[in-house]
């Protein structure tokens, strides 16, 4: 079975630590967009085992999000975005499913699925998360322009970290 392995939990906790201790301090100020947050943490959710029960996934996302929310002082915002991302993950995976399906037990893996797949998967995931996050942060469709602008800026900066992790540090796929 595709159970949660220790390394998934460790990775999640590590990402949370990186997020609150390092990335939270990176705030790029640009005109009209007062705060752009860099997010790496959603990647930990995206890298959860494929076969993980969706119910478990939702709860993991919820609690991980809540922990982050306490550090970001925004109760519920990150949790809601994470839960949404986790819920959407199944649809993203289905949509990107390669011919022949995923190999059972595999987790999102660079070596098997290919560079293009990894980029699409992480981009869509991060996109969903960031749009949700900035929408909930603004909380009104009135700010749609600023929401989109912030999401795009934040997406570009976050993806640098995400892809760096995926292509330089992440080894999961190659020896899977």
């Amino acid at each position: 079975m595709n159970e949660l392995k220790l390394r998934d939990i460790v990775r999640l906790l590590l990402f949370i630590l990186i997020q609150v201790l390092i990335l939270k301090r990176i705030v790029i100020s640009a005109p009209f967009l007062n705060l752009i947050h860099v997010f790496l943490f959603p990647l930990a959710l995206l890298l959860m085992p494929f076969g993980l029960s969706r119910m478990t996934g939702l709860f993991i996302a919820f609690f991980a999000g809540l922990i982050l929310d306490f550090f970001y002082d925004s109760p519920g915002v990150i949790a809601a975005s994470s839960v949404l991302l986790m819920y959407m993950r199944a649809f993203i995976l289905k949509w990107l499913e390669p011919r022949g399906g995923y190999i059972v037990q595999s987790k999102p893996a660079l070596g098997i699925l290919g560079r293009r797949w990894v980029i699409s998967y992480t981009s869509i995931g991060m996109g969903v998360f960031l749009v949700a996050y900035f929408s909930l942060e603004a909380f009104s469709p009135v700010y749609i322009i600023s929401i989109l602008a912030k999401s795009i800026m934040s997406f570009l900066t976050s993806m640098v970290f995400v892809l760096f992790y995926m292509f330089v540090l992440y080894s999961g796929g190659r020896n899977a």
């Binding site: 969706r54 119910m55 939702l58 709860f59 919820f62 999000g65 929310d69 925004s74 109760p75 519920g76 915002v77 949790a79 809601a80 839960v83 949404l84 819920y87 909930l136 942060e137 909380f139 009104s140």
Partner: protein, 275 residues
Amino acid sequence: MQNLLIFISRYGVFLTFLFLQTICLTLIVKYNNSQRAIFINSSNLATGWMVNKTDQIYGFFNIRTVADSLSYDNARLRTALEKSYVKPLTTSEEITSATEDSEYNYMPARVINNSVQLWDNKITLNKGQRDGVERGMGVINERGIVGIIVNTSDRFSQAYSVLNTQVRVSVSHEKSGQFGTLVYQRVDPRYMTLVDLPKYAEVSIGDTIVTNRFSSVFPDGVVVGTIADYAVEDGTNFYNIKVRLSHDMGRLDYVYIIDYINKKEQLELEGENDE
């Protein structure tokens, strides 16, 4: 029971998702100030709309209650303003007591939000449906016109400032009695533009512009401002007059909301004629 289990197993993930999102949204609204403000505000808009609609239905029955609720201040103002009465054939003693002949009620209110720098400026007042404010009522202060109520919630009401491109006020040139329309042309919040005043009216700089009662929003003769500049628009028979407002719209504080009691009747009558 079995059906319930099947249902849960089929939609369990989605239900969990909804459940967790509900918790998150509750947290967001409860513990984040800006989001809470937006939430309360939006729900106020929604409830305000509903209350507004119901109020229109109950409005007919409520007229007397609303009139009663208008404060002591209104009564005093009504007494003070001769224009508020149907005049003829009564002595002054009779006027003071003849409140049933009153046409306009004045309700004191304070401006709690105001802008002058936008194209479409709005004002928020601290009186709402609870106090009998309704859409379409005029707002003035002791020195001139201020705006027209467009939106009401329970405790607050929002008015289009006269400095709003949506607002057109019917006004008269006091000396000649000719009338035209006052509009805001966005340039300078101290000035508004009077259009459609026929060019055979003799105007000069410094003449007073007052409201007339065609709009059924403002009473007759409220001072609007004075003529600062005028010209006949090319190819038309009308003046284009620059009107200096009688007061600084940026410094509003106390204002009066005007309730024209016979408005409904007047509009209904005019509507009948149109058919």
